[in-house]
């Protein structure tokens, strides 16, 4: 088990290193210039470039950056004066995290429930209903889902607020918009997994013991079926995160995704770099946690390797 965890951590660290390096050079390859828009004299511009270290060779910049990063310093924004990337992350991430967690809870809870219900009522109308939700959910891109929800619930029927992120009522629509795709994929996966487990030999063993159908379903079927769904959690966090990019802009949530998309268009190198590294590291850590968690849940992994 310790070996398994260690292996996961080493892989994650390597992933992080590759990620940061790749992102660093990709960002430096970005066309455009953060100071181009402002009409400034060349010497001021040179000063600024020197200030940000942009006049030094790329490789020096890289090592300077990595050194700073190790100290937890992600640099200054080039567009917003006097704001560090750390400041921006600290002020915007809580909103994104809040939205993400709400979306994730919504997706996991309803996704698993729908998947179980569909599998247990296989071939019945309820199953088809669940399949329909799942299929539609995976077929509607989140920005379309977001705009439709906003239009109908906010604009047309005026049931829920159109935008902003202040009271819990404001969080419902964006959370659904972000989480719906994940909900759909979880429910499909859970349903398939449930149906796979039901044809396993150990279900027949359980049946031969004369225990109730409820117990067979709960203790044997769901317990085993949920296992592979746990592995989905990593990619799920990623999909929720990208969902927040557009949904935050659409619902005017002051989160990190909104900032990110904006800073791409303003060529704010350090922000793009900083937020990408932050996102990337966050996702890699999530994946690692899920992998390790899986090792604890599935007894078979414990001694293997």
């Amino acid at each position: 088990m310790a070996k398994y965890i260690l292996k996961r951590i080493v892989i994650s660290l390597a992933t992080l290193l590759v990620l940061i390096t790749a992102v660093f050079f990709l960002v430096r390859l970005m066309p455009g210039d953060p100071f181009a828009s402002e009409k400034m004299p060349p010497d001021v511009k040179a000063n600024l470039e020197a200030y940000y270290g942009l006049d030094k060779p790329m490789i020096v910049q890289y090592f300077t950056y990595m050194g700073q990063l190790l100290k937890g310093n992600m640099g200054y924004s080039m567009v917003y004066s006097n704001k560090t990337v750390n400041d921006i992350v600290a002020s915007t991430f809580p909103y994104s995290a809040d939205l993400g967690i709400r979306a994730l809870c919504f997706a996991v809870f309803f996704g698993i429930t729908l998947g179980i219900v569909a599998a247990l009522r296989r071939g019945k109308p309820l199953d088809y209903g669940c399949i329909l939700i799942a299929i539609v959910g995976t077929s509607v891109p989140d920005f379309i889902m977001g705009s439709l929800l906003q239009y109908f619930f906010g604009v047309q029927w005026k049931i829920l607020p159109v935008a902003q992120y202040t009271t819990w009522k404001h969080t419902i629509l964006p959370a659904i918009a972000v989480g719906f795709y994940s909900l759909a994929s979880i429910s499909r996966y859970m349903r398939t997994s449930m149906l796979e487990v039901i044809s396993q030999d150990y279900i027949k063993t359980a049946k031969s013991k004369g225990i109730s159908n409820f117990r067979i379903t709960w203790k044997h079927q769901i317990r085993n079926a949920i296992m592979p769904v746990v592995t989905m959690m990593g990619p799920l966090v990623a999909s929720v995160l990208t969902g927040t990019f557009v949904i935050e802009a659409m619902y005017v949530v002051p989160g990190m995704g909104k900032y990110y998309v904006e800073s791409i268009s303003t060529y704010d190198y350090t922000i793009v770099l900083g937020i990408t590294v932050f996102y990337g590291a966050f996702l890699v850590i999530c994946n690692t946690i899920v992998d390790i968690l899986y090792g604890f849940i599935d007894p078979r992994i414990k001694i293997a390797k």
Binding site: T15, V27, V136, S139, P141, F143, I144, S147, Y151
Partner: protein, 310 residues
């Protein structure tokens, strides 16, 4: 026991009947026949296939026969509702939405298909080689994939799009392929590894069948269904990514259009003219739906475990 009267001739010995001995009354179908039979029987999958073909045909021909250009601006026609002249109405610049949808379909469908096919080819090749030959090469490729797989693909795609500093179809496809093959390779390796362990491959090896022939005759036929299915499932993902990138302004840029661009413009006009978002939303969703359903159908059709059952 009551003995019936049976004539003595009935007790003439006839012996084993060779011709019936191994007869199987169920009709035997080849792999493709069986798959086709199941697809045809699965009405949803069949309908999805037909819908996709219809969209492809419309994408090819509709713009040719349309009297309007997809970038033709008209001030009077701004935000008009569907009419006999403009079947799906006009957008905020007075452009004919019907024409734009099918011009956009050309871009969106091409990107979806191309990205999925290229990802599959690269991924299957790398994953397949890694799985089949194993050893140090496999170790190396797997470590690489392990590391790359952890990188959030959309973030890299966004950065590649930005770094390439060019919008348009080719750039989009390149950006998607740079990270897209990783998942496919992982999956292909797993499949090959599983198949390789099976006795019929071992048997072929023992008989001295060359590697190339084992791959072509034994592995490929067993993987092809799986690959086709996963490719079908990957297409909506690619279309979705294109729409997403175009939506955040990194994909196709005006005057060119794709479904993502049309949807983005429509969302901005949502309160004034909801049809401008509902129309592209409808086509994006039905296409994704059709590919998803077709993929489901194909998976069942190719699943050897499900062969011969309902």
């Amino acid at each position: 026991m009551s003995e019936q009267v049976i004539s003595k001739e009935k007790f003439a010995v006839v012996g084993k009947s060779k011709e019936n001995m191994e007869s199987i009354s169920r009709p035997t179908l080849t792999f493709w026949q069986e798959a086709w039979r199941r697809i045809k029987k699965n009405r949803i999958a069949f309908f999805s296939l037909m819908l996709i073909l219809l969209y492809v045909l419309l994408a090819i021909f509709a713009p040719m026969f349309s009297q309007y250009g997809h970038a033709e601006i008209s001030a009077e026609l701004r935000n008009t509702l569907p009419s006999a002249q403009h079947w799906l109405g006009c957008d905020h610049l007075g452009r004919d939405i019907w024409t734009r949808i099918w011009m956009g379909a050309r871009v969106s469908l091409t990107i979806g298909l191309a990205a999925a096919v290229i990802n599959l080819c690269i991924g299957a090749l790398i994953g397949g080689i890694s799985g089949y030959y194993g050893g140090k090469l496999d170790m190396f490729i797997m470590r690489l994939i392990d590391v790359l797989y952890g990188i959030p693909s959309l973030i890299i795609t966004i950065l590649v799009m930005v770094a390439l500093n060019k919008t348009g179809m080719i750039t989009l496809i390149i950006a998607m392929v740079i990270v897209g093959w990783i998942g496919v390779a992982r999956m292909a390796r797993g499949q090959v590894l599983q198949l390789k362990e099976q006795d019929f491959v071992a048997a072929a090896k023992v008989m001295g069948v060359p590697d190339f022939q084992i791959i072509v005759k034994h592995l490929l036929p067993n993987l092809i269904g799986y690959f086709i299915t996963s490719m079908t499932m990957a297409i909506p993902g690619a279309i979705f990514q294109e729409a997403f990138l175009s939506y955040i302004g990194l994909g196709i840029t005006p005057p060119d259009c794709s479904w993502g661009v049309i949807a983005k413009e429509g969302i901005a006009m949502m309160r004034v003219a909801p049809h401008e978002v509902i129309v592209p939303a409808f086509f994006i969703c039905t296409t994704m739906l059709a590919f998803n359903l077709l993929g489901d159908g194909l998976r069942d059709a190719f699943d050897p475990k499900l062969r011969g059952t309902e």
